[in-house]
Symmetry: C2
Subunit: 369 residues, 2 copies
């Protein structure tokens, strides 16, 4: 007997994971990391008010999360000056990207992204049978012209850009993104991943009509608000597009404490400002550590810094391996020439000091290979 | 310009929700419910040790959940005497059912379930373009013979059964389920939803070889462990089938505090026993309330009781509407003749007393219509 009957698509998919988690690396090296600076988590954590909200509502864990995320969407609508109908909340941006791809990408449909951009988006495109087309970065920036040209060339249903960018931390100004939205090819939806926007200067926030039928924006509580572990993302877009998520989303998928934490985080804008200041100082600290080791770093509009290790990808990978071996969890870009860098997430001084101590040794060891 | 290009399937899907949440009902009636007894949540909540675990780990909310749920799967493997490779953890059973359907059900593929069984499963089948075939209940039990006959007739890829059943609370013994697994049609996978199994007698737990290629079992921390709001479910099955989830699942979808809460809940089997006792007492109480009103109730192997309102579906719907209006959140089966019942979830005495007070008035009002 042959069970089960996988779909034709499922049979072709590899068992793959966009990222290996730091805990798996800890298990394989047999020791915990001393500094967790690799996943662009926010080491400063959520604000004290948010922690208090989680604790004081823990006893509500027996109730399902409210399936419409009504209160959170209402608060977000006020915060952004838009309507609730323009917002869908989901279990992190990863989940919402999956839903979006499912709605729009069928077998062999074309999708465009940058080579070296967010692997989880690519994973979803592959998972629904889409055909992914990649364009190179241009001077460590995502190349908006090349993205649109490629989208036009292949008749893409989706074109993805993160602004600020991950993994380089670079930023396009609002005007560049607005131009992109104004010049989309027929039928192509712009997926504007603004996961890091809460840590970017306000000049990065494009002015786009909320009912623009060609743009959907992804936001998260994982980065600026320090709640990666709670899994709360949201998408902003035209009401018709947002409503389409109701066709497929896991309506009772939201964790109730996550909804409560996000609501508390949004209400505590002073707390966000404190975190923003901490992140700014931490980025400066990482740049100083790079400079102390004779390296340059890229200006970052996010909560991480790409440090240029000054040689090729093999060298940066050697530096990374040494850091991992020394108990410092960092990651790096996947694709040349961006892979000359390692990517270090912001965090408290304790972790920074560990990184500062490890980096010279890692560089020395990598150079000795 | 036309954006976006929805897939052919997405264009055909309605914007639908398997259940309206109680909070939406509260908003529409303009007042909170006094007793929340409708969603088969566990009103006794998680054990004190679990609450303490959530609170004491709240500060970890800045870290992504471990993408393999390694520690939880290791603990579950020990608990069940199986291997980690036989377990996949996901954001509630709803999410895992969605993944399973995605892996196995393509456009027009046949799936079999009982008419009136779990709507969220049906929602996922529709969402992936599957063709759903339903068989009636038999004397308020899911009809295992009819399910298999229909699966054979239509060449189903999946056949779904919940044991214990929702919404009736009835139970098949282990032997009946084992027979079902032994008589599956070629290529048909049995989806055995055991969401309520932690509240059922051990006679309900079938002995099935873990590597049986034709069965996947769904378990959850939402019911017995009282953690519905945390969204932790898991599937148990043959390692090859379980591994296939790695192709499509949202690897970083698990809430970190949910993983911690589930691990603490599993470790606290004394806490589970306490909850089981509370649920048993509460079921007795609900049955007494029914009897006090001249109604019968169905024996239940779950954490809810179906009360037979003694007339047809219209009457039960009227009773339900009266209860809702009185601030008592309950639900009821969707399909005749099961819709002669209302379904009341277990909960603390405070809620029971409110229900006990409301029911006679609701019956009186419904009879007066």
């Amino acid at each position: 007997m042959t069970y089960p009957r996988y779909t034709a698509l499922a049979q072709t998919l590899p068992a793959s994971v966009p990222f290996v988690g730091p805990e798996a690396q800890e298990r394989s090296r047999g020791a915990a990391f001393e500094a967790r600076l690799g996943a662009n988590e926010n080491g400063f954590g959520p604000s004290p008010k948010v922690l208090e909200a989680i604790k004081s509502h823990a006893h509500e864990a027996w109730m399902y999360g409210e399936p419409e995320s009504h209160d959170l969407r209402a608060a977000l609508a006020t915060h952004h000056g838009i309507k609730m109908d323009n917002i869908v909340v989901g279990e992190g941006v990863d989940c919402l990207l999956g839903y979006l791809v499912r709605l729009i990408v069928g077998q062999n449909d074309a999708v465009v992204t940058s080579d070296g951009a967010y692997p989880t988006f690519n994973y979803h495109v592959a998972g629904y049978g889409g055909s992914l087309h990649k364009v190179p970065y241009k001077d460590d920036f995502e190349d908006t012209d090349a993205l649109l040209d490629k989208a036009r060339e292949v008749g893409a249903n989706l074109v993805y850009i993160a602004n600020p960018d991950n993994p380089m931390g670079t930023l396009h100004d609002a005007k560049t993104i607005e131009n992109m939205a104004a010049n989309l090819p027929e039928g192509c939806l712009l997926v504007l991943d603004e996961a890091y926007i809460d840590l970017a200067p306000s000049t990065a926030i494009p002015t786009l009509p909320i009912e623009h039928p060609g743009v959907i924006r992804m936001r998260t509580f994982s980065k600026g608000y320090g709640l990666a572990g709670m899994r709360v993302g949201y998408a902003i877009g035209a009401s018709e597009l947002i409503r389409s998520f109701e066709k497929i989303r896991n309506h009772f998928g939201m964790n109730r404490l996550a909804q409560i934490a996000a609501l508390a985080a949004l209400a505590d804008q002073d707390g966000l400002q404190t975190i923003q200041s901490q992140v700014t100082a931490s980025k400066k600290r990482i740049a100083e550590i790079a400079r102390d080791n004779g390296l340059t770093s890229l200006p970052s509009a996010t909560n991480f810094v790409a440090i240029d290790c000054g040689q090729d990808g093999d060298f940066a990978r050697a530096v990374l391996a040494e850091l991992i071996a020394m108990g410092v969890f960092v990651r790096m870009p996947f694709v040349a020439p961006q892979d000359r860098c390692i990517r270090v997430s912001c965090g408290p001084e304790k972790e920074m000091a560990i990184f500062a101590k490890a980096l010279p040794n890692a560089l020395k060891a990598a150079r000795a290979v």
